[in-house]
Symmetry: C2
Subunit: 408 residues, 2 copies
């Protein structure tokens, strides 16, 4: 007898047949006596179709009107899904984000949730309804329709789970859980039964695209029990994303190997080693709306230092242009870069209590003849930048070295 | 410097190109200094697509959820149209029915408008915005999304014009006005410059499908100046629908010849001529959700009478079944019917002050050898039921007899 929030992505509701499948799955949970809130995305392809229409009208569309249009995708799904659940013999009722209401700020196309009124939903649950709430959307204080940005349905589900103090928030996706690494690169990759929020955040930001980062942050902050499950398989417990204390005693040191392709590295050589230099370099880059990932500055000598950072490869030329334009002003000697790099990371809360993880990692890569170009560490992650051609080899090597290949 | 409500139907906004055309037309009115409220329908085909999805889920869909789904069609159009007007260089803002708000009763799929809050719209108009409001939809007192039923966008436009005391409500359609009769039958048919609400009601209910009847009733009740215009031609004043006092002095006796195909006639012969017999016959017909059009009962003799009425031809067999089942109970002698009839009507407020219209009509039909099977009259309309094969001949004959062929 639990309160469960279930989120189904666009591929899970891509056709009326699939919506009926989702309804059958919801009905099975309901039949076990649980209270269920369902949060579907738009049917896959629908959001792109709608934004395509908008682009035909305007290349530089008003974000307020974009949200009016884009929010209809989920609105269609909630109506269809509520009907499909009714066909399974259960009471069901749909709500848009405005109706519930999901109060957001007014940052159209990427609004943030401020508050959710739980009154209507609780009243409906008490009367035995399955409540179907549109993901991805809300309304600001003036009643304008807002959307949370791509992938925002995950965040909607977690926010609803937090607001209603749900026992679990289940995210149904086209994978059956979170893996130790990408099984396309390492066939021996294993599904994790549990992973901590911190690890999940590092995995997600490093390229494992199972969950939207914001939803994981949200879940961690509000202590929402989050589970990733397959929407196409009926069996399996998926992966539970937990707060650290709930992890089993004998946890592995490393939980997974994440990686990011399509990165590029830039280095500003011989800049004066004085306060404020990092800001002088990265300020113009941020102004140009370029996202910076790793940032490294080494100890200087002779009063100068070298400053390196990575960006998405698509931003490489633009970044180079920005740096060249400020080169003289900051007194740098030279700008150099490399477009053919990638990033590989070992992630695990266990490394906090296990010294020597970094050196094991560096030795293993050295033994395979892989040169490390940059290193960056956090409490639960060690990342290296290497030549992109070594990506698969490095991932396989580290997966094995840290014992992730083994059976449970 | 007027306040004008402009309604554009589904074919006028069927593509992004057509939406841009509508925006250009709106911009021309705005450029003349007018305040403009635009009420678009869904892109043509969209409502059917949405209801088709719903049908794939359920044959007997929950009307509340149907409205959640169907209302998205107009929501997409308002966003696109607001953007397109912005591209023309004017400020524009869209509102759904819930947002405005258009308060309706809770009769999902065919709700009635109770009240419109004009506060937000007025504030926007004062700031120079073109306000784009979704037709066809509203919300009930609990915030549930409702729709007004097919063609409800006309009603939305008229209701907005009434609530805001607009100077004119313009209905853009794929015809350029109201004609004396269908030009496909009578090439000499003329566009009317003006027509009264009463005439329009009689014309509409008799088969001229230019405007939704409810919107005309609404406009008459609230004295909204209503104009029908072509959305595809830039020239032309269309047809103004007026209250009678505004008609020119020398108005024609007959304004138009309307007709309805696909009718069927049923007669209950030899029923006892006693109070309550009409209800005993038509009560079961109404219970079977069959719409009855003309009803005729003649003076009886020998204590019995004959009772006739017409229905849509598609309802003929069903109606016959209902009558056979009550035949014994009401003590009728026989049920007879005719599936091959049509109805032709002369409509005009002028006939009130001109006796002899009926006899001119009957003589003209007799001279063409057309046998009249039923007659029904109102203050401004004379309808006859005739064999369907004479429909075109009767319409052409009456159009000529009443001087509608002539040039102005």
């Amino acid at each position: 007898m639990a309160l469960i929030v279930q989120k189904f992505g666009g591929t899970s509701v891509a056709s009326t047949e699939r919506i009926k499948n989702v309804a059958r799955r919801v009905a099975r949970w309901k039949a076990q006596g649980h209270d269920i809130i369902v949060v579907p995305s738009a049917m896959s392809g629908e959001t792109n179709r709608l934004l395509g229409l908008a682009r035909e009208i305007s290349e530089n569309a008003d974000p307020r009107e974009l949200d009016v249009i884009a929010s209809t995708g989920e609105q269609v799904t909630i109506g269809l899904l509520a009907m499909a659940i009714q066909e399974q013999g259960y009471k069901a009722k749909s709500y848009t984000g405005s109706q519930v209401r999901v109060l957001t700020d007014s940052t159209f196309t990427k609004a943030r949730i401020l508050k959710i009124d739980d009154e209507r939903i609780r009243a409906d649950l008490d009367q035995g309804y399955v409540v179907v709430v549109a993901g991805f959307q809300g309304a600001d204080a003036d009643g304008n329709i807002t959307t949370l940005g791509r992938g925002g349905s995950d965040t909607s589900a977690v926010a609803l789970a937090a607001a209603l103090n749900a026992d679990e928030c289940q995210i149904y996706t086209d994978v059956d859980g979170v893996y130790t690494t990408d099984p396309r690169i390492v066939p021996e990759a294993r599904k994790l039964d549990t992973i901590t929020f911190e690890e999940m955040l590092e995995m997600a930001s490093l390229g494992s695209k199972v969950l939207q980062i914001r939803s994981v942050e949200f879940a961690g902050k509000y202590k929402v029990k989050l589970r990733v499950l397959s929407s196409f398989e009926d069996e399996g417990e998926g992966t539970l994303i937990t707060v650290e204390e709930n992890k089993p005693m004998e946890q592995p040191i490393i939980s997974g190997i994440a990686f990011a392709r399509d990165e590029a590295k830039l280095t500003v050589l011989g800049v004066p080693d004085r306060p404020g230099i990092a800001y002088q370099i990265l300020g113009p880059v941020a102004d140009a709306k370029i996202d910076v990932d790793m940032i490294i500055q080494n100890v200087g000598h002779d009063g100068t230092t070298d400053f390196s950072f990575t960006v998405a490869r698509a931003d490489y030329n633009k970044t180079l242009g920005v740096l060249e334009s400020v080169k003289a002003h900051i007194g740098a000697r030279e700008i150099v870069g490399d477009k053919h790099i990638c990033k590989v990371s070992a992630v695990g809360v266990g490394m906090r209590s296990h010294p020597g993880v970094a050196s094991s990692m560096f030795r293993a890569l050295a033994e395979e003849g892989i040169n490390i170009k940059m290193i960056s560490t956090s409490e639960i992650k060690i990342s290296v930048v290497i030549d992109e051609k070594y990506l698969e080899l490095a991932v396989r090597t580290l997966h094995k070295v840290f014992g992730l290949d083994k059976e449970d």
